[in-house]
């Protein structure tokens, strides 16, 4: 019995375990040997295909980018971590102020809260309506925390913007 096409293919691909059986048949059968030769010449032709040259340099694109956006480079990951850390610090720093306010908060009923908020709004409105420039001296105790708070907020926003900006910038296609 002759060798199958599959056996010849597998033989040339080195994917057949019993090579000796194949070889002994090939040695005694001119037909199968001829079929093998045809297949071998196809292999040789495929091997002979030369590489052709590129018309453009594909590397240029990457070189011109200079600093590419790395996949989560350490320093960028650190920026995110830094943001989180700063937020935590800000929270801790703000805690005393919050603590100061806490005693003022009792556990009133909802209507009471509602009423209180309403009256506070009214107070605020009257304060704003009655606001006069010479009254400034009453503000100073508030001014420092307000300033610190605004600075912290501004700083945090800036960091957030810069961090996210960097993340999104220079992304290659």
């Amino acid at each position: 019995m002759h060798l199958t096409d599959e056996q010849l293919n597998e033989y040339l691909d080195n994917e057949i375990p019993d090579r000796a059986d194949i070889e002994s048949h090939l040695a005694s059968c001119a037909d199968c040997a001829a079929r093998l030769t045809v297949l071998q010449s196809l292999f040789a032709e495929l091997d002979s295909l030369p590489d052709i040259a590129l018309s453009t340099n594909l590397a240029v694109r990457f070189a011109s980018t200079g600093q590419l956006v790395p996949q989560l480079p350490r320093w960028l990951t650190l920026t995110a971590t830094l943001q989180a850390a700063l937020a935590l610090i800000a929270l801790v720093a703000a805690a005393p102020f919050v603590m100061n306010l806490l005693p003022a908060i009792e556990t009133p009923s909802f209507t009471e809260i509602f009423f209180r908020i309403q009256s506070q709004w009214l107070n605020l409105f009257t304060t704003i309506t009655n606001y006069q420039l010479p009254n400034l001296p009453t503000l100073p105790p508030l001014q420092i925390p307000t300033l610190t708070l605004s600075l912290a907020l501004a700083g945090a926003s800036l960091l957030w913007l810069v961090g996210n900006g960097l993340l999104l910038r220079k992304q290659i296609r």
Partner: protein, 178 residues
Amino acid sequence: MTAPTDRDLIVRARRGDGDAFSELVTRYQINVFNVCYRILHERGEAEDLAQDTFMRAYNRLEQFDLEREFGPWVRRVAANLCLNHLESQKVSAPLDEDRDADESQRPEKQVEARERSEQIRGALASLPAHYRVVVELRHYQELSYDEIAAELKIPLSDVKSHLFRARKLLAEKLHAPD
């Protein structure tokens, strides 16, 4: 000073060093382009897909196992991308005539060899997309049947049938009497 190894370049590229990755592209662009050209048989498309291959490689660099070799890996990526490209197109194989046919200025021997190359490329291009890629992976990237099956996520039996049928078709086209 010795040239940096691929591995060095990959480590640097992962940190965002564009020049390091650019050097890797310089080393492998001919290989990768020729993978694409053998499968697609169209220069412009092949260059686009080669570029896409390096983009893909760059975006997957973080997952790349440094113990493996970059060259074989990036060539397999190219073969896969070309297959996806062909499958998304689903166009019939275009004619071979109008491709890279600038042979007017060459010596005769060279023209002959070039013509034979073009016949081989034309025969390859006439195969169904899956056949082309299997031939590429077996003959040019020298993967085993099992490796091809894993790479293309197809059964081993399909690898064999694609490959053997592809060879039969190629032999018919190339060894047909003129």
